[in-house]
Symmetry: C2
Subunit: 463 residues, 2 copies
C-alpha cells in the first residue's frame, strides 16, 4: 500500500468534484474457475485499489459527500475462516492503513443506500457479473440498465485523477516495466527452433510471479504474430519463423507493464524480415520522438501510420499519395489497430470506464466507424503524467487480404499483386511504455534490446 | 477431445434417465480480471466438457428428450473477430466432432426455451454469476431462486455418470497426476533456505503449463502448512521449516491431479518433524490399504483419524480411549478436514453440483455440524471407477488451540499442556490420487518420493 495520506488525498480530491451525493465503489469478489471455491488469482478492482488500497475480496466503500463520511463495508473473518485462511490483518486495520476509520458489516451497505435518493448515488460501470447483480439488487434496477445508469460525473472525475500518475505510482510502473523487460530478455535468450511456444510462455509467467507479482494480461507468444489477440501457445518454433512476444508483468501493487518484441526463432532476421522490422522500428521511433504534453495522440498515431505507409510504398505494397492513403485508412490492411493506449493499474488503463472517457474528450469523439481508427484507444491531447504505450506493427492477415481484395478495396493505394508475396509473412510489433514529462517523455523501466543488431547479438548466443 | 462416439454415448446414457423434458447445459463465458477484455485463462464448465467436449466460451446446449434433438447454441466468428483471433475451426466443425449436427445462433436459445414448459427444463446449479444471470433471464426466475430450481434429477444422473471414470478418462487422470508428480519433484529439488515461496510456486506453474495444460487449482506452497487454504507465497524458507506443497496439474483436456508433499526446507527432518511425519504417513498408508469397492469412504476417514489419534496419544498430546475420542471429534483439533474427495474434471469433482449429491446418498446424509466431519467431502460407499484423493494431515493452528483450550473442549482426550509444546509446529500433509479398481485400488500417475528416506535423499543433493 501507499501511505495513508496518499489515499486520503486521493479521496479528498475526488470528493471536491461533488457538491452532494454518495459515491459508491464495489470491490471485486473471487472469480470461480470450475466451482465456487476453486478461484482464479484474486484481482481487486483498480479504482477500489486506487482510492482505498485494500487488496481483499467482498468489500465495498462509499464516500458520502452529504454526510462527509467514508465507510468501508465488509466482514471480519470468523474463527472457522481463520482455521482455513490463517490469521490475517483485520479489515479494520487494513481500512485504517488507508485512513478510513469507519468499517461496517457488508450487510449494512444495502440499508445505507436505501436511505439515499437513488439519483444521488454515483457508481462506476461494473464489468463483473457479480457486481452487476449487486447493484441491480441494491438499487432496484434491471440488470441490463446498470451500465446506462453509471455516473458520467464520477467516471470523468476518476479518469481525470487516475490519468495523471504520481511519483509513487511511477516507481511502481517503472518496476512493472523492468520486470516485463526481464521477461522479454529471457524469451530472446531461451527460444530456439524445436521449442514449443507454451514452454516460453510458462517461463515468462514465472518471471512475472516470482517476486509476488503477476502477469498484467495473458501472454501473447506466437509464431503467428499476425493474429492480434493470440493466446494459443501450441506451435513449435522453427527456423525462419518470427516470434512475437507481447507480455507484461503486474507489480505486487497492481501496476502494469506492457512490452512487445519480435525476434527470429533462428539466429538472424531474413532479408524480408529485416526490411519490415526496420520499417516498424522506424515508425516506433518517429512516434516516440513526437511524444510531448499538448500533442494529440491521434497525431502520434498518424505519424506512426504514415511512416509505415511510406515504407510499404518503398517496398511496392502501397502506391499513390500516402497522406491520402492514411487518412482514408488504406494502411489499415497492414496495421489494423491503434498505436497505443493509456497504462496504469490496468494494462489498458481504465478501459472498464469506457474508451470515450479515457482516450477522448467531449469535443474529440472517438472514430467508431473507420477500420483501424476504431481500434485506437487513445486520441486526445497528452498531459504531463500520462503513461502510455507506443506499439506500431505490421500484420499480414490472409483472411483480411482476401476480403479487401475481393471487394477491390483501396486498390488505388494497395498493390494486391505485391501483397500476395507477403501473404504468409506473419506479424511484427515493437512496444515500450512511456510517461509524458514536463516537456517531453521518458521510457519506463530498464532498457531492452530493440535494434536488429542488439536482438541478433542475443540470439547469437541463445543456442 | 475424445472420440465422437464417446460423447454420443455419454449423452445417450444421460438421456435414458429422462422420459421427457429438456436438459439445459450452459458453457462458461470468459471471466474478466480488471476490465471486460482482459480475461483469466478460459476454463469451460466441466459438465459441458463432459457431454459436448467443446472448449470455447459463450456456448450452451440442450438435449431435448421430447423432440429427440441435441442442439449447440453459439455464434460463428465474424470477420472482425477473425482479424483479432485468427482463423479457427468453425463452431459447426467443433460440434460435429462431438457428434452434434445441429448448431443454432446463441440468440435462438431463449426463444427455444420459451416454447418449453419451464417445469420440464432441467439445469445444473450455476456457480458463475454470468450463468445465473442468463438462467434468470431465460426462465424468468429471480436470481436468488436459481439454485433451488436446479434439477435434482439431472444432478443425480450427471453425478452417477461422471463418478465412474472410463478407461479414456483414466489415461488423462494418470497424465495429470504424473505432471503433478513432476511439479513436486522439482519443488523438492529446488527448494533451499533463503528462497522465497513464490519462486518455487512460479516454477511449479511453469511445469503445469509448459505442455499446454494448467494448474488444477491455486498452488499451496508454504512454510505455514497449518493454514489449510494458504495462497500466500511471501515467506522466505529457512532451515528448520517444513515446506508443505499442495499443487496439481490439469491436463490439456481438463482432468485434474492433486498431490501434497511436506518436506524439510533444510536437508533433514528434525526429530519432532520425523515423528509427526511418520505418523501422518502411517495414517495415509492405512487409509490407502483399506480402499476397495463397497467400503464407505467415511470408514476410510475413520481409519485415518484413528491412526492419527493413536499416534498422538503415544506422543502424549491425546489421552483416553481413542475410538471414543475420534467418534466425538476430539482429534479434529489436529486434523480439521476430510481425508479425501472425488477427483476428475474438477479437482473436487463436481463440487458445483453439491457435496451431498457427490459424496453422500439419500440414505447417508452428510454430517454438517461436527467440526472435522463437516469438511469431509466424500463419505459414501466406493465403486469401481471412482477416482479420489487420500490426504490425511496434522495441523497445529494456534488460534484454534487457544479457542478450544479456553472452552476446555475435549479436555478428557486432549493434553493441552503437551499441545503447547507443538503450538508453533506448523502442518504436515501427504496426498496421492487413486482409482478404485474391480477389487482394490491403483495409484494414479508416476511414483513420487513419500518416505522420509526417499525425501531426504532428494534433499541431500538439493543445494
Amino acid at each position: 500500500m501507499f501511505s495513508k495520506e496518499e489515499y486520503i488525498n486521493r479521496r479528498n480530491s475526488l470528493k471536491s468534484n461533488f457538491n452532494s451525493g454518495v459515491l459508491l465503489f464495489l470491490g471485486n469478489d473471487e472469480s470461480p474457475i470450475n466451482f465456487f471455491d476453486n478461484t482464479y488469482h484474486f484481482r481487486q478492482d483498480s479504482s477500489f485499489l486506487y482510492y482505498f488500497g485494500i487488496n481483499a475480496p467482498k468489500l465495498a466503500a462509499i464516500i458520502d459527500v452529504d454526510k462527509d463520511k467514508i465507510i468501508v463495508f465488509g466482514d471480519e473473518m470468523s474463527i472457522d475462516e481463520l482455521v482455513w485462511m490463517g490469521r490475517q490483518q483485520t479489515l479494520e486495520d487494513k481500512a485504517h492503513q488507508s485512513g478510513v476509520t469507519q468499517v461496517e458489516p457488508a450487510s449494512k451497505l444495502s440499508s445505507y443506500l436505501k436511505n439515499v435518493n437513488h439519483s444521488e448515488i454515483h457508481y462506476l460501470p461494473p464489468y463483473r457479473a457479480e457486481n452487476k447483480m449487486k447493484i441491480a439488487a441494491m438499487l432496484s434496477l434491471p440488470i441490463d440498465s446498470i451500465k446506462e445508469h453509471a455516473s458520467h460525473t464520477l467516471i470523468k472525475a476518476v479518469v481525470a485523477q487516475r490519468s495523471i500518475k504520481s511519483a509513487m505510482e511511477l516507481v511502481e510502473l517503472d518496476l512493472a516495466s523492468s520486470t516485463s523487460a526481464d521477461m522479454h530478455l529471457l524469451a530472446m535468450q531461451m527460444a530456439k527452433p524445436g521449442m514449443k511456444e507454451s514452454e516460453i510462455a510458462a517461463a515468462l509467467q514465472q518471471v512475472a510471479q516470482k517476486d509476488g507479482g503477476n502477469l498484467a494480461y495473458p501472454v501473447i507468444l506466437t509464431v503467428d504474430g499476425q493474429i492480434l489477440h493470440n493466446h494459443y501457445h501450441g506451435n513449435i518454433l522453427k527456423e525462419g519463423d518470427l516470434v512475437l512476444n507481447d507480455s507484461g508483468a503486474e507489480s505486487s501493487m497492481g501496476y502494469a507493464g506492457d512490452l512487445t518484441r519480435t525476434f527470429p526463432a533462428g539466429k538472424k532476421f531474413s532479408t524480408k524480415q529485416n526490411e519490415l522490422y526496420s520499417l516498424v522500428l522506424d515508425s516506433y521511433q518517429k512516434a516516440v520522438k513526437a511524444l510531448r504534453p499538448g500533442i494529440k495522440y491521434l497525431d502520434i498515431h498518424y505519424t506512426a501510420c504514415l511512416t509505415l505507409a511510406e515504407g510499404l510504398k518503398d517496398l511496392g505494397l502501397m502506391k499513390g499519395n500516402m497522406q491520402e492513403a492514411v487518412l482514408a485508412g488504406a494502411h489499415a490492411l497492414f496495421f489494423q489497430c491503434g498505436t497505443g493506449h493509456m497504462m496504469g493499474l490496468d494494462v489498458h488503463d481504465m478501459e472498464d470506464l469506457g474508451e470515450q472517457f479515457v482516450g477522448y474528450t467531449d469535443q474529440q469523439k472517438k472514430n467508431t466507424t473507420q477500420f483501424g481508427l476504431k481500434s485506437l484507444r487513445l486520441g486526445k491531447e497528452l498531459e504531463t503524467g500520462y503513461v502510455l504505450t507506443v506499439e506500431p506493427g505490421l500484420y499480414f492477415i490472409p483472411e483480411l487480404i482476401d476480403q479487401w481484395q475481393a471487394a477491390n478495396k483501396f486498390s488505388d493505394f494497395i498493390d494486391y499483386g505485391k501483397v500476395a508475396d507477403y501473404r504468409d509473412f506473419g506479424g511484427i510489433r515493437v512496444e515500450d511504455d512511456y510517461v509524458i514529462t514536463q516537456d517531453s517523455y521518458r521510457k519506463l523501466g530498464k532498457d531492452l534490446a530493440i535494434s536488429i543488431k542488439d536482438i541478433e547479438a542475443i540470439r547469437a548466443t541463445a543456442y
